[in-house]
Symmetry: C2
Subunit: 425 residues, 2 copies
């Protein structure tokens, strides 16, 4: 029976869930995996909380150096979150010859290029399945099941908070603010919800997942980001009328050396597999050149699912005598030869308010046509006084062309406002 | 750069797909995985076909002993299908110190207990991700991502042929025979479709998957099996009216030492994630005690997806210096302490034709009630002459109780026929 000693750094929600699995399923893991995994150390600032959760006095520490100096510890689990002190602590652990398992998406997406070389130099592992999409095994599927494939597309609903809010807006007709408040009351959204609703969380995850999928660095700074705060009940209604639902999608695409990586609200066709991913559930659709589509669906957050992903990394790591390292997570910037495309193509849903007068629609269409953007479906909706709301879907067009045309349209005297611009799958 | 030499035994559909990936993505796999994988030998009966597919003269052989004797070959891929000669060939390969990757569900479900000990004795690997659900990484998810979890439930649409037929019946109102013929014309169903439509294929897969999920032998002979040949257009219509779709589900459940394993047509609620799995796509929903639900969706068959699963096993195997062995796949019969439950509980959809006369429904309900089966929803449908079709859903009840009650009902003078008995999720 192989003995494995681990330390947990940070006994918050995810660290607590991890502690629970490792203690409650200890015997089960021992009998099915042949590994006797002991939590030898728990590092936290709050001794009382840790002891209250059942951590033995002898296991508790608030000093990283005690973890690092302990030769018996094989694997360090980092569940503190945020960049510092997690980065310093992980670096110390790697340098002391311990493998690290982390759930820290912000840290990995920002400093993978610093941490990976340290792991490699010291011959230890750096695992972070739990950093992306909680309990859903997206990273393991990319690295252990789709390895033979060139991956060309990745579409994900990878933030549960925004999916919960959009689902509430779609199914119950709530406005954004009401749905957000409900998510906050249920603990799905933070008091300051920006990391979720502005798309940062999804950007971190997409930067990690698309780097792994495309075997090239996609820095988080190069991921296009747009959150859901401007989505209105009218947008949701229009989407439904046109046969779509609105989702915050993370999109990665590769075509040769050209890569797209973007997070934005998206019209998803109602019959698409991702359209039926509701509430706080997450899903990722991956397309490989041989395996075609694989969709993975499950709980993208929470103590128990995320803890499950962490312990699966611990077991995976403990069974290996050597670890894999990437050849791409070594730079803060895109690799030479990889072009991260900003001027991607998409279909667009556009809503604007204009004077309710003959010829206005023709003028709008003319400006779009001059930019090479053609209209697919028009849905002119009710008018109020002398103004009308015009909504339409375009055919596929370039991002820059559409934005250029909309700038011109926005300046024209007969248009009062451009209310919505939402990309379509 | 690690060199890996493989042999492919059987250059049919899946073997051909595997050969294509290994040759066409050779450079990609080399650069991203650090493995130089060469197909050194291709074993087949048909030399001309193999050479026509691009296999070099020097690589071709029709003699297993040439493969076994070749010390350079590290991994043998078996894509012949069927029990013999695959079993003999795999055994020889394992005994000669070569790891084996196979797509052979029938062989693994029937003789895993013989092959696994041979692999273990010789310290080599036996991998079979491709045997279950084609390109969908169900086995890897069970063994490498959900290892920390006690798995309590597994629901799968794991046969593409039957799902294609049922989808056609559902979406186009086709009868079973017409949908089957269409599936045959498209190559989704064999000329003799029994292995698929009678549920044998799904039984083999469920026996493997539920054994892995529950860490105990679930022999294929102990899996309850019922195919789709008796599903009628009326059943499909009734299902829709009641808010369900009919799917051939593979169901595995564990509660302590009690295990259920069954394959049968099932009423699946229309809003359930498995209900929207259409056509030849497959999906498996796994529930663990910590991770909760994970659903995996993709192509369950075909040369390229199944080839992708095989090559992922080859890469996974090639990177390991030691291999995992189960403690349960060592017996042809269920392990002591594991009870495979035949008298499971379920809700049931029942359709019968009876005399159109007052009191008939009350008599039916009375017999059911005496057996402890209570009716949830009644949907009495049109009558023809003096007979009426009565359809209803029961509450949860025991299989034996329901079957016993139906036998009595079937014998009663006012009932002409019991037309459908379909279990509900």
């Amino acid at each position: 029976m192989k003995k494995v000693n681990v330390a947990i750094m940070g006994l918050g929600t995810v660290g607590g869930g991890t502690y629970d699995i490792l203690t409650q399923n200890h015997g089960y893991i021992k009998s099915t995996q042949g590994l006797d995994i002991r939590v030898k150390r728990v590092l936290d600032r709050d001794r009382e909380k840790a002891l209250g959760r059942g951590v033995p006095q002898t296991a508790f520490t608030d000093n990283i150096d005690e973890v690092v100096a302990d030769k018996d510890i094989d694997i360090v689990i980092e569940t503190m979150g945020g960049v510092e002190p997690a980065k310093t602590f992980i670096t110390k652990a790697l340098k002391s010859g311990k493998s690290v398992v982390t759930a820290n998406k912000e840290l990995i997406s920002k400093f993978w290029y610093e941490l990976e070389p340290v792991a490699k130099e010291n011959g230890v592992g750096l695992y972070f399945e739990a950093s992306c999409v909680g309990g859903v095994p997206v990273i393991r599927t990319l690295t252990e099941s789709m390895q033979a494939n060139r991956i060309c597309e990745l579409y994900g609903i990878i933030n549960g908070t925004t999916n919960y809010i959009l689902t509430k807006m779609t199914e119950e007709g709530l406005g954004y603010e009401t749905a957000l408040r409900e998510a906050q009351q249920l603990g799905y959204a933070e008091f300051n919800p920006s990391a979720d609703v502005d798309g940062y969380d999804a950007v971190y995850k997409l930067s990690i997942l698309s780097s792994l999928a495309f075997h090239t660095t996609i820095p988080y700074k190069n991921v296009y980001r747009e959150g859901i705060t401007r989505i209105t009940a009218d947008d949701i209604k229009s989407a439904r009328e046109l046969g779509y639902v609105i989702k915050l999608l993370a999109i990665g695409r590769r075509d040769g050396n050209k890569v797209e990586a973007r997070v934005h609200p998206t019209f998803v066709p109602a019959e698409h597999p991702l359209a039926s991913v509701r509430g706080s559930f997450n899903a990722v659709l991956l397309t490989g050149d041989y395996v075609d589509d694989i969709m993975l669906y499950g709980r993208g957050a929470g103590a128990r699912p995320t803890g499950s992903a962490i312990v699966s990394d611990v077991i995976f790591c403990a069974k290996r005598r050597s670890h894999d390292y990437t050849d791409f997570a070594v730079s803060e910037t895109p690799q030479a030869g990889t072009e991260i495309v900003g001027d991607f193509t998409s279909k667009y849903y556009i809503a604007l308010t204009a004077l309710d007068r003959a010829g206005v629609l023709a003028s709008v269409a003319k400006i779009l046509a001059e930019s090479g953007v053609s209209i697919n479906t028009i849905l002119q909706k009710g008018n109020s006084g002398d103004h009308a709301t015009i909504t339409f879907l375009t055919h596929k067009a370039g991002e820059h062309a559409v934005m250029g045309a909309l700038e011109k349209i926005g300046r024209s005297e007969y248009v009062r406002s451009i209310d919505s611009v939402i990309r379509c799958l």
